[in-house]
Amino acid sequence: MVEENEQQHGGYQIDLGNLTAFDPHHQFSSVAHNREDLVKECISHGTKLIQAVTDALFNLPSTEDASGPVVSLPPPSTKLPREKPLPKPKPPTKWEVFAKKKGIQNRKKDKLVYDEQTSSWKRRHGYDRVNDDNDLPIIEAKMTDEPGVDPFAKRRSEKKQRVEKQEKNRLQNLKEAAKVGALPSHVQLAATALPITGTQTAPRKVSKDELQNVAGMAATSTASGGKFDKKLAGEKPPKHDKKYRKFLPVVEGSGMGSLEKQQSDKILNKLMAKNSHEIFNVGKAVDMYNAKSDKKRRNQQGKSSSTSSKLKVKKSPYKNKSATNKKSSSKGKSK
């Protein structure tokens, strides 16, 4: 068999299936050829090769046809790649498995069937067919029939059920084939939606904002908090809804008060204030009082200035601390 495909005829390799001859040993007599001579030599040598192929070809057993001698070619010996993958053998359908097990043979049905009623030949399917369900004028009642049940409607519903069952089986067979990967060529599967497990709720449509947030949420789980992640074109910079923390400078400049001291004082005062019962700023109260009394005195002095202020006994504005204390109302004792 192999000898038919590829033969050595005077040192040429001949592939009859492809009508090819290959001469690996030819040497050109002189390299410096001009174009025409080169082509001529190619053609002449090609003629020799083709002659060898035709020798082999015409020696094959041929049959005479109207247009000429027909020869049966052997399969080609040089293998060339396929253009599409091999089709997978399709798995047998449920009926085929059952039929094989039981040994049921498939009988070809005739298109025309003899109808006893009209004693004529009618077609099996289609217009004016044999045993048409819609043509039944009378359905005889049986003992098993319930009263009140419409037999015509019953027949129609039964047929509908049968058709639905058949459709379900057909889809099941296709699914089985799709699992193996051997779907018939005219059928295509398209995934429409991904359902949530268990329930039949329709998948909720995700909004644009939610999607944007999801990416951000995922980014925060990275080591650097998603700060240096490469962003796609059109993606917004990461949102930062909180306050940025403030840190003190390492080296304190001149002209500023001791920042660290201020910071710690602030914290301490807050803490102390929370835990102390005297929620009262003494210094502030004193200042307020002093300012008030100064104002009052100026007004009084403005109205009546008989004696000079120098001679008058000055009341010390800083006396009576205890009085002011007593005056104060402790607002909201801290608990």
Partner: protein
């Protein structure tokens, strides 16, 4: 569109799409993968810039393969077959036109008169060969007798000359690709009257191939085999191999697979005789007559039994008698 309402579990909802007309169904079946493949279609297109020679080359290749090729006339700027991302357009066109071979022409200063011949497997790039065209001589410039002009669709002969086709990897690849490109359909029955064209490829040097298309003339000779005469007809060009990309091994293996049912296996023990016709040999294993298990053992015939009975030493009959007595007592 038929929706499958049967599965209420966590499987993706699948809908099965079938074609609504027979015509669409036939078109889909034509494009489906088959066990034995029909001839490959070719897509001919060009890139951003082409030269006059390249235009002529592309049209002539199209004419040579008129019945199984598609020629695109617009320029395609985004096709770069040898680059990683530049082949998506090619694959898309291959899918749309169902072409598994393509010839892409382009002209640039660096690569003048460039032809990229490529093949696809499953509409993805399988392999590529880039050749430059030099010394192009077109169909119209050759003068010949019009009667011997080859018809479209005839199966061609191929002649490959030169040791370069065996030794140099690029030329080997080019040989395979040229064969695939111009071969046409693989037939099992061939009408010998319809043979009229030859492609002659000569390897000159380590990267150059002289490609010629000739018409075939069969002359009467004394014997059954006619005398062959080649007349230069069609395009003649020098192909200078520039780059090539071989398919990777796993893809190649998959593409070269033959269906197991097509491999002809040797039938053993069958031979053909001119006189007797088809003869088969049957090997019959040795029959062990002595030790063949019989469906029954004739117990009464056994010699030992008989002798023992005669003696009255039979244990088995004693047991039987005992059992019978017991049964009688039980039933009574």
């Amino acid at each position: 569109m038929l929706k499958s309402n049967t599965n209420k579990q966590s499987k993706p909802m699948l809908s099965i799409k079938t074609p609504k007309s027979l015509r669409a169904k036939r078109a889909l079946e034509k494009r489906a993968p088959k066990l034995v493949e029909l001839e490959k279609k070719t897509l001919i297109l060009h890139g951003t810039k082409t030269s006059n020679t390249l235009n002529a080359v592309l049209t002539e290749i199209y004419h040579l393969k008129k019945d199984n090729s598609v020629k695109y006339s617009r320029r395609n700027d985004n096709i770069r077959p040898f680059e990683a991302g530049g082949e998506t357009s090619l694959e898309f066109y291959s899918l749309k036109t169902d072409c598994s071979l393509f010839v892409f022409g382009s002209h640039s200063k660096k690569r003048p008169d460039n032809l990229v011949i490529g093949r696809t497997y499953d509409h993805h790039i399988y392999d590529l060969v880039e050749v430059g065209v030099e010394n192009f001589k077109s169909l119209s410039s050759c003068s010949y007798d019009k009667k011997i002009a080859p018809l479209i669709g005839s199966k061609p002969f191929f002649a490959f000359i030169g040791e370069g086709f065996e030794n140099v990897e690029e030329l080997k690849h080019l040989k395979e690709v040229l064969l695939d490109l111009f071969r046409g359909q693989v037939v099992s029955n061939l009408n010998l009257a319809g043979l009229d064209r030859v492609y002659v490829c000569t390897a000159v040097g380590s990267n150059k191939v002289v490609f010629t298309h000739c018409a075939l003339r069969l002359k009467k000779s004394g014997t059954v085999v006619p005398k062959v005469e080649l007349v230069e007809v069609g395009p003649t060009m020098d192909l200078v191999v520039r780059r090539h990309r071989l398919p990777d091994e796993s893809l190649k293996k998959e593409a070269m697979k033959v269906a197991p049912e097509l491999i002809q296996r040797k039938v053993k023990n069958v031979s053909k005789d001119a006189i007797a016709g088809k003869i088969g040999k049957i090997y019959v294993p040795d029959q062990q007559v002595r030790s063949t298990p019989l469906p029954f053992t004739p117990k009464g015939v056994k010699r030992e039994r008989r002798e023992a009975k005669a003696k009255g030493d039979d244990k088995h009959s004693e047991k039987k008698q005992k059992k019978q007595k017991q049964d009688d007592e039980a039933s009574a």
